[in-house]
């Protein structure tokens, strides 16, 4: 018996790619969650801050990144993000792997054409193509990528150094309704249940399929999985509802949190809030 025919091999490969890609997404989601839990339990600068103050400060810093109209300021904010990360036990290498690379690819691809499309002072002529790279184009691309990277870093720092439930409870301080916080918490909880259910469905189907699938078959596989997932979601929601009622739930959401603000938190908040104010004032 000879080596598998290229045709069969390719089909098998694409079938593997299809189901495995979902498996990768699932693993990535779970890994992110575990990671966040582990990191937020470590000792570090950001981990020690009251979640409410941390949330507001991070939002403020993200706002700064979006307000900035000078590249130097943007660079400064980026370095601040890296500094905060390092002081919280998160290495730049990890930041690179978890956020910088993805943002660079996504926004980079979008920003790249702008260096030749945005009109302005020519800086360089692309050989053979006669496209002119302009200064404004370069600046624009740098702003876009810089902002995306800096904001994403701040957001990741918030999530990595704070248990998810604390992030949600901190949102109460910003006036988010209790019901929304309850829904968010429960959604987060059940995302993992549904992800695992979906994985199992794919695995079960995959193991029963012998011949390679064409597009229509694959589509109906995904549709069936999606349909079953939808039905299961509803069924779960009914059962969870009963479990909630059984323990006394009547529609009022109550949260228990034990946040204590210290001097350190107030200082951080003050600094964080003054930054966007300063930027806005300087742009007047």
């Amino acid at each position: 018996m000879c080596a598998p025919s290229p045709v069969v091999g390719r089909h098998r490969q694409s079938r593997r790619r299809f189901a495995d890609r979902f498996a990768d997404d699932l693993t990535r989601a779970l890994a992110r969650a575990f990671d966040a839990e582990a990191t937020s339990a470590q000792r570090g600068l950001l981990q020690g801050l009251d979640p409410r103050f941390k949330l507001v400060s991070m939002l403020s810093l993200i706002l700064c990144a979006v307000l900035a109209q000078s590249l130097t300021l943007l660079a400064g904010l980026f370095l601040l993000a890296v500094a905060l990360a390092t002081l919280s036990g998160i290495s730049p290498a990890r930041l690179g792997q978890q956020v910088w690379l993805a943002v660079l690819i996504f926004t980079g691809v979008i920003a790249l054409p702008s260096i030749v499309i945005v009109p302005g002072e020519p800086v360089w002529q692309v050989p053979w193509l006669h496209w002119t790279v302009t200064l404004q184009g370069l600046r624009s691309a740098t702003f876009l990528i810089g902002r995306a990277e800096t904001s994403a870093t701040f957001a990741l720092l918030l999530v990595l150094t704070t248990p998810w439930m604390h992030v949600l409870k901190a949102m109460r301080a910003l006036g988010v309704p209790v019901v929304v916080v309850a829904i968010l918490g429960m959604t987060h909880r059940y995302i993992f249940v549904l992800l695992q259910t979906a994985m199992q469905m794919f695995e079960a189907r995959r193991s029963r399929i012998m011949a390679p699938m064409d597009g229509a078959q694959r589509r109906s596989l995904v549709m069936a999985a999606a349909g079953m997932l939808l039905a299961k979601s509803f069924q779960l929601s009914s059962e969870v509802h009963l479990a909630m009622v059984s323990r006394g739930y009547r529609g009022e959401v109550h949260l228990l949190h034990d946040f204590h603000a210290r001097w350190r938190d107030w200082c951080v908040l003050l600094v964080a809030l003054s930054l966007p104010a300063a930027i806005l004032w300087s742009q007047r």
Partner: protein, 358 residues
């Protein structure tokens, strides 16, 4: 379709949040009233479902794959208000926890996908499905069309939000500070991507799930229309009434903005490149600019810009407006506003017919 941080200016984000907040508030109250103790678990599970669906790699006709948001499914099964809350929740978790979509742009993302998307899907589905039987193929088609339209109108709104950035926000050297592509590039780029891949994915998921539910679980399909154990319909004229004013207001604002500028006439700065060559126009400019003579030739940048921005899509610059800049901001806003108005008017007719039949 999830807009990251840095693509939209703070003022654009603020406007988007300002538009989103009242809709969130109204939707949340409506859902709370209708679902009571069922609200939290139902919406949480559906948001989780929506989140997982957004991760599915859907195989599309033609051999490619795409991701769907599931707007039409959420709207059909839960009704538009609950759909707004459920999709917003999924988007928030994606943005904050998984870094998919920005935090400053969260308002805009919700406006585009959760709000505009849900309402477009709702009206389209109700319109096309009409009073057909729960199991009829017409509903599958209605769902598919609803999904397709919803995602494309969302994409259009996002494209408009992108496209107005370079005109309004640039630094001292003239470099765009946020999304760098003007409408003439942003709109076609977004729409091409969505009319094909993303739209197809949404179409497939919406039609496919409704077809699946018709066979496997028709109860869920009737969920939002059933007056049974969950208080009277989630969908229906009730929601329409409470948010109608909001939508009319928004549409009116959008379509009326051109008129303001019309009244002023050709305001200072709104000149086309040929104006610089035209003697009469030069006189006008001279008078309007405190007798400072305009340059002999149009500024290089303007030259390049105007041809770039008006040539590809001529209808984008209404003929009575020579200037490229305002011409096409207005076109975009007008376009989006007209689409909204169209939906509003059509569904008004539909509901009038429905309530007359009651």
């Amino acid at each position: 379709m999830h807009i990251p941080d840095g693509y939209l200016s703070p003022s654009t984000c603020a406007v988007a949040y300002a538009a989103a907040l009242p809709v969130w508030y109204l939707a949340l109250n409506k859902v709370k009233r209708l679902l009571h103790t069922r609200m939290v678990p139902l919406l949480a599970l559906f948001s989780a479902f929506s989140f997982v669906i957004m991760m599915f790699n859907l195989p599309l006709p033609g051999g490619t794959t795409g991701h769907a948001v599931g707007i039409a499914v959420a709207t059909i099964v839960l009704g538009p208000c609950a759909s707004i809350v459920a999709i917003s929740t999924a988007l928030l978790i994606q943005a904050v926890f998984f870094g998919d979509g920005g935090i400053t742009t969260f308002g805009a993302n919700c406006l585009n996908m959760a709000m505009v998307g849900s309402f477009i899907a709702y009206w389209t589905y109700t319109l096309v499905a009409g009073r057909s039987v729960l199991q009829s193929p017409r509903r599958v088609v209605a769902a598919a069309i609803a999904g397709y339209l919803a995602i494309n109108v969302s994409a259009l709104f996002a494209a408009v939000e992108f496209g107005i950035q370079p005109i309004l926000f640039h630094d001292t050297t003239g470099a765009p500070l946020y999304a760098p592509y003007p409408l003439s590039i942003a709109v076609p780029a977004m729409l091409i991507g969505h009319l094909s891949f993303a739209g197809l994915a949404e179409l497939v998921i919406s039609g496919g799930l409704v077809a699946y539910l018709q066979r496997a679980n028709p109860d869920l399909l009737a969920f939002s229309m059933r007056s049974a154990d969950v208080q009277p319909k989630l969908a229906g004229p009730g929601i329409w009434r409470s948010t109608r004013a909001l939508w009319y207001g928004l549409a009116a604002l959008m379509t009326l903005t051109p008129l303001g500028l019309l009244a002023v006439g050709t305001a200072w700065g709104e000149w086309g490149t040929d104006d610089f060559a035209n003697a009469a126009a030069r006189q006008e400019i001279l008078h309007a600019s405190g007798n400072v003579a305009p340059p002999v030739a149009a500024p290089q940048g303007m030259e390049r810009l105007s041809s770039l921005w008006t040539a590809p899509i001529p209808d984008y610059a209404p003929s009575f407006m020579h200037s490229a800049n305002y011409g096409y901001i207005l076109s975009a806003v007008l376009g989006a506003g007209l689409i909204l108005l169209l939906f509003l008017l059509v569904s008004r007719l539909v509901f009038k017919r429905d309530s007359a039949g009651l």
